[in-house]
Symmetry: C2
Subunit: 592 residues, 2 copies
């Protein structure tokens, strides 16, 4: 009998999905992954530069964030098609978090962004190891939708200054718009022409190029992919113009010197003070990044009946962010547009991500000198066109029609994010949606019911002509009973019996009660005592199996003044003299 614990390869595979797909890798998979990688690389170069700009970081940090993190995800991630790297919303959140600590353009600013990636990576890894992915569930859909829309507007507003070639600042929408208006007098018109032209071109590529290509006989999938190369075309053309006319001498801001070479080895700060300042932001960035990433991965995996493991995704994204932190990058997550391109281009395994990393590394080694003359306005145009697809006010309309509480959560999240910035916006949204949920369930639907004549069914006495017995009140509650609504039910019942000396029995009909927590149990025991003091018996009917199992662990059932009935009809037969119930006024019309 050996006491050494045997090595369990399945356990290792849980944490290293690469062992799973790597063992089945074939030349044809390699070819497909390689083609996808080339297409994603072309798309990712301008995006990486632009999002670094949005985060207030040097352009090369965007490239660095698109190399090692992709390799880390390829090893630890479970999605076959997710493409990680810098994304718009996380870049905006990085700027908001780091902007409180240092001035843009300083070394401390960049170091803080690196530290933010590291903390975010640690948070994601810890959540992954302890399987805490469910925390992300507390971000309701209205909050996410409102937040993404507001972020899109904030991001677009932050880039308008680059289109006009002016300086402006501010973190919230009013600050940004006021600062922009104050500086409009300094507009550089050459910059404006480039910016507007690039924006118009990119919008046309997005809307008009695909139909054009299809009408020329290009397949819809290839046409889709080709439209993603629009930003590259804009970058190449405007860089050439900028170079040819030395536009930087005419006040057009350009990217300038981008250091050539592979990512440097960097280390985050470990000062407790800096960690405590960045921790809250890192949690928000981690959770928002995780939610977006899993949602994309889930969508793509379902198309091929593949599965992703959300808790392992936390580890994949955590490893990616730590990889970003040690290689001069900043917080990364799975991007929607590039993952779809990756999937459509035929990526079969996470190796496509690793190959993309090679492509970006080559760009960092050889292409950076060519970016010298790239106008900042072109990158701003890329960002604006990309993020405006995030802005979606339809959610306001759909939630308005479906649920006013959800509408309130969306509207509040949008307004708070625009007015007070991303962190206040999303935190308030989460708190609000939890509060609204508790409020809704704290006032459950409660109906007094009676017997439908000629049947064994019971219905709301206010909506149907039903038989009732004056000595007996039957209350059906359509919600689990827990601390937030237990008192509501108690008030309802005590109100119903107040000043009504005829009542002898109260039956609580529980077919929709999925749980009874300690507070509700205490309330039921209290209600039982109080009704008993008033000479009224409390009965239960149609209690579900699991709820009954749990109640049997308490004293309620043995203390109950009344009985527990399997069906409400049995309760009425036992308690009410059903041969002489009070008929509804219209009974003669409806009785069977």
């Amino acid at each position: 009998m050996s006491v050494t614990r045997s090595f369990d390869p399945r356990k290792l595979r849980r944490y290293l999905p690469i062992l799973e797909w790597g063992s089945k890798y074939t030349p044809s998979t390699f070819a497909n992954d390689g083609i996808a990688a080339i297409i994603v690389t072309i798309m990712l170069i301008p995006q990486s530069l632009a999002y670094a700009l949005l985060a207030g970081l040097p352009a090369q940090m965007g490239l660095y964030a698109s190399i090692l993190p992709l390799v880390a995800y390829a090893i630890f991630g479970t999605s076959r098609a997710l493409a990680v790297g810098p994304v718009a919303v996380v870049s905006l959140m990085t700027a908001a978090a780091v902007g409180n600590m240092a001035l843009q353009g300083t070394a401390e600013y960049a170091a803080a962004a690196i530290t933010l990636a590291f903390i975010s990576g640690v948070i994601l890894l810890v959540m992954g190891f302890f399987r805490l992915g469910f925390f992300a569930n507390f971000l309701s859909h209205p909050v996410i939708a409102g937040f993404i829309t507001a972020s899109g507007i904030l991001i677009a507003a932050s880039q308008i200054k680059h289109i006009f070639g002016v300086s402006a600042s501010g973190e919230t929408l009013p600050e940004r718009l006021i600062s922009l208006a104050q500086h409009l007098g300094q507009t550089n018109f050459i910059t404006l022409i480039i910016g507007v032209a690039a924006t118009a071109f990119l919008f046309w590529v997005r809307k008009g190029l695909k139909p054009l290509l299809i009408s020329k006989g290009v397949g819809p999938r290839m046409a889709d992919i080709a439209t993603k190369a629009g930003p590259v075309a804009a970058v190449v053309v405007t860089t050439l113009i900028s170079f040819a006319f030395s536009l930087n001498d005419h006040g057009v801001k350009i990217v300038g010197e981008v250091p050539r070479g592979l990512p440097p080895l960097t280390l985050p700060h470990f000062s407790p003070e800096i960690w405590s300042q960045l921790f809250g932001s890192a949690i928000l960035i981690s959770i928002i990044g995780f939610v977006e990433s899993v949602s994309v991965a889930q969508t793509l995996a379902a198309k091929k009946r593949q599965r992703i493991v959300p808790d392992q995704e936390l580890i994949g994204l955590g490893a990616s962010n730590i990889a970003a932190a040690i290689s001069g990058g900043y917080p990364v997550t799975g991007g929607f547009a590039r993952s779809v391109v990756n999937f459509d281009a035929g990526a079969e395994t996470p190796a496509a991500g690793a190959f993309t990393a090679v492509g970006i590394a080559l760009a960092a080694l050889f292409l950076t000198p060519l970016l010298y003359f790239l106008p900042i306005a072109t990158l701003a145009a890329t960002i604006i066109v990309a993020v405006l697809s995030l802005v979606d006010f339809k959610i306001l309309k759909t939630t308005w029609g479906y649920s006013k509480a959800d509408f309130a959560a969306v509207l509040a999240t949008i307004l708070l994010t625009l007015w007070f910035g991303v962190e206040t916006g999303v935190s308030s949204g989460v708190i609000l949606s939890i509060a609204l949920h508790l409020y809704k369930t704290s006032r459950p639907h409660v109906a007094e019911v009676g017997l439908v004549p000629g049947s064994e069914h019971f219905r709301n006495i206010n909506r149907h002509d039903v038989l009732t017995v004056p000595e007996m009140v039957t209350i059906r509650v359509d919600e689990s009973l827990y601390f937030a609504n237990a008192r509501f039910l108690e008030d309802y019942i005590l109100d119903r019996i107040a000043d009504n000396p005829v009542i002898k029995h109260v039956v609580l009909m529980c077919p929709a009660v999925n749980d009874v927590d300690s507070s509700a149990l205490e309330t039921l025991e209290e209600l039982n005592r109080r009704l008993n003091d008033a000479g009224i018996k409390l009965h239960l009917s149609e209690v579900k199996g699991p709820v009954m199992d749990r109640l049997q662990k308490s004293h309620l059932l043995q203390d109950l003044s009344g009985q527990v009935f399997l069906s409400q009809f049995a309760a009425m037969k036992a308690l009410g003299d059903v041969t002489k119930p009070v008929p509804p006024e219209t009974q003669s019309d409806t009785a069977a």
Copy 2:
């Protein structure tokens, strides 16, 4: 046609319950209320002094808090028997809140307590006018029980120093015990004898007097009331001893000079700085006080089939606290012990409270000189004996047996309150119980079900021998679908279909789904699309009426790849080839 709005007396009666019961007041009601008032006055005098001491305030403020607030409650309150005034837990919370702002014994300390009562009164009034009483529901029973138990221990620990006649300080239990241990060397032994004797006497009165009186032929109700006079006896006897032997010359701390006369007119601070410092504490005090008060009032009202109006109780308690603030008092609420005495002594209307106020006012006018020699140790004994009845560890045992989540909430609230003080304790408890509730509902009970042979019932495939069809998976979810659990369900279903090419239909069976919020709707729409991409149809069965009404406002039903079935049996007949289902292994044993 008149445009002036007519006066609606019912509206006035909503806010002034006194108009309701006052119009029916009779001489016999007056006699009953008067007798109850005398008994409550006798009980309230030592309590008022003791709780002022506990709050760190001069003794007379306890009396002042038992005069005008009672009159205010008599006008605005809805409970016929509730006796308001200073109570132990709120006194402790007052000490914790005000202790951060000023030193005990200073004029600023007293002024801060007055301001706290005022802010608390405003909060209660605002909550009452806007009918926000449901906020109190978020205090779950485990949190309240844990908090009250921990408060009882903290209060008792805070009084031990008076029994030993030493100085000690500290807000949390460890601080208090360490400080006490450091000062034990300075014990005054005469004080200790008085303190221990008073404590022992009061415990005996509580446990032993009632059986004794009953054995002597006293009725149980009178015996009950007589035991409440124990503290008065202790006060009288120890004051006489203290006076006879001039114990203050031997180092025994006495109450000393208590100003004689009616409550002074006082005004709270209105500085925004002080308000912002006290606001959080005032919210906690208001809500804790409200919850305790309503719970007592509810219990007593139910015995006579009377009703209380929780939102009007907020107004009653708010008016009481504002009355306390303008008459030199401090935060008040409905007390459990004294309300029960009031009820048992025969109080019929809130007028009993007003008569009690007259009694206390007479005491403030004429009795205060007699309190000069009252030993502080006697008051401490009164407090200790009173609060130890609050300490109840049974809640740990009952919640352990009933629900581990609720047990965790109780234990955390107790430990956090003892270790970090009342405010941190109760706030953490509330957050924890909300988080645990969300966690529980975020992982709902989900079962895959099959047909019970020979019936139309469906049961869990893991627990019963049921018929299933390989092409069709039926998932029953036993919880409302909302943001915190929607993704769980989606993951569950996507996991179930992954790598299983046989499945053609997924049926979501919804008899226990009471609500589907926007997030869950979005998830269902997404799930529908994803399953469709994988060639699987999504169906719903047994959807409740109100949920169906709501879903009809969305696009889900028209986009649904499958159908909505009224019953699961109909779904199985339509989708599965029920003539050839796969039998359970033991079917031959169980088939009908």
